[in-house]
Symmetry: C2
Subunit: 373 residues, 2 copies
Amino acid sequence: MTLDEVRAQIDQNDSELLKVLRRRLDLVKQVGQIKSKEGTPVYVPERELSLIAKRRSQAEELGLNPDLAEDVLRRVMRESYGAENDVGFKCVNPDVRKIVIIGGRGGIGRIFTRLFMASGYSVEVMGHRDWDRSAEIFAGAGLVIVCVPIDVTEEVMRKLKGLLSDDCVLADFTSVKTLPMNIMHEVHQGPVLGLHPMFGPDISNMAKQLIIAVEGRSPEKSAWVIDQMTLWGALVRKYTASEHDEAMSYIQALRHFTTFCYGVFMARENPDLNTLMALSSPIYHMELMMVGRLFAQDPVLYADIILSNRRNIEIIERYSREIQNSIELLKKGDREEFIRQFSMTKDFFGPLAESFMEESRRLIAKMHDAKVS
Amino acid sequence: MTLDEVRAQIDQNDSELLKVLRRRLDLVKQVGQIKSKEGTPVYVPERELSLIAKRRSQAEELGLNPDLAEDVLRRVMRESYGAENDVGFKCVNPDVRKIVIIGGRGGIGRIFTRLFMASGYSVEVMGHRDWDRSAEIFAGAGLVIVCVPIDVTEEVMRKLKGLLSDDCVLADFTSVKTLPMNIMHEVHQGPVLGLHPMFGPDISNMAKQLIIAVEGRSPEKSAWVIDQMTLWGALVRKYTASEHDEAMSYIQALRHFTTFCYGVFMARENPDLNTLMALSSPIYHMELMMVGRLFAQDPVLYADIILSNRRNIEIIERYSREIQNSIELLKKGDREEFIRQFSMTKDFFGPLAESFMEESRRLIAKMHDAKVS
């Protein structure tokens, strides 16, 4: 056969591949219908694991790379979880007449509005122009979620004083928890639940998405909210406000700060970005991507996160002292100490270092797949 | 149908999916055979683009997400490029009797040894114990590649003085170029070619992998090396030694330094890693991954890269002053200046910021696919 003839057969085979994918998503829709009736969560870990295991062993038999089978299947499952969404979810608390989402027109707000509606709740979205109608809006609400930018959270929460009935659950999505939890307990006499959805507005579906829950007053009365989110496929993990905020000082404040500084520094040095990109290894491309992406986002959000508490600045100052130490190290050309600190840090990461290495390999390969010369 | 019945059909469909993948790789093997005869490169950008375009439009017709089709196809193409490798490559310079790879037993060395052999060259791998046989080893060599750790590169190169015939191409894989290029011109009277493969030892194949080439003495005599690597699918880009080294100060030295400092700092702060991981958003998981992975690797390599020239330390010192400025900014709570610098940096990244954002979305989704609760 000529090259063109073989390529024609490959195209035909690829076309068959898409038809098989189409069939899968049609079958998945039926799964969604059954689950929404039965009230089964979208994400069932055991099912996912057994699916993967079956295909990996079949791949071995076919002389295929099992990682190929797993990668393809996982990508298809992402789409499948989305398809299960279409048919809606069981409503775990039909007694709730109304849910109000303050700031529900934002990216995250829209996701939850859609999912609560798809679960049979009546949802009212409240924007900053609607406060003159607040009495009417909050009347009969069984759940009110504050989902506004961190810099106006306190102000908005204080406006709620006296507007909610004592059986209404007051919740928030703020990325810090201690202060908002305190304010919510002040302004509301009923159940309080702090939530922090750990994902961006661009997720395709809720399967395996992490939501941190901080329980406030009478958790038994807000438990249904967590149950509902679990049905959507979310992983809801409970922590205290201080556990959450301490972790966030590292997870958000310090990391955003270092990324910010790195980006600003590059801008000042002003090397030719095209040359940098052309000379980049995949891993550096990824590093630069992680920095550059920050600056496609809202500066105010990052300023507020970093400035949200005193502890963040203290951590950042300790970090800058570490940088000074390392520079002294290098100026002395002290390889031994560099290597000693390297091994100390290797011990800190423990087995994670290796699994991070492996995980980054897979991501770099995926990034490379999309590379265009 | 019951949930179990639908799931059985899904399993059957997934099994069909793997058979279609198996057929594709069989067809691809034939492509490899034809290409190795004709001497066509493994990676043909136009072919890849047209493949993707066809499947995306078919997906639209089928009511499938075109991104699903593209993601699956790209993953399958990665495997396909590997399968094309199996049958070997055309030899672009049959006159070369022998290729010697000094340090060819290392990860990168092994990849090139395999590919040169698969292209019909006789390859001799030289380890550090083989120098007593050096005269015999280098006799009649048409290409000698120095592929040893950066800290012994100079020493090894100097040993070559007088051992190579003037028609032999002397090349290296060092991750800095200025100094090695100078030494190679000193120790050898024939053609000199500096190379820097911008990938790790774990690539599945050479398709679209970047190799930086720095041309030295009589480039016309080393052009065949670049042609051969292009046949393997590599993207070979030519730069001067100084262009390369200046970019590497940012790409390698500065970035490795900041990653090193961040890791060491975390180790000193010693927060509970399990809690951090449990509370991580996908994007932070990725950030922590990028840091942790460094410490699964060889500290000496990173020390040597950072210490490889004076400019690196100067850049790092300027960077640390930037950090001091940013800390002052935050202590003053100067939101306006934070936002001003943020926008300045956004301008520096220009359209890249958005495309980095988009790219990171895809990688985060991919990472999330593999998440196990």
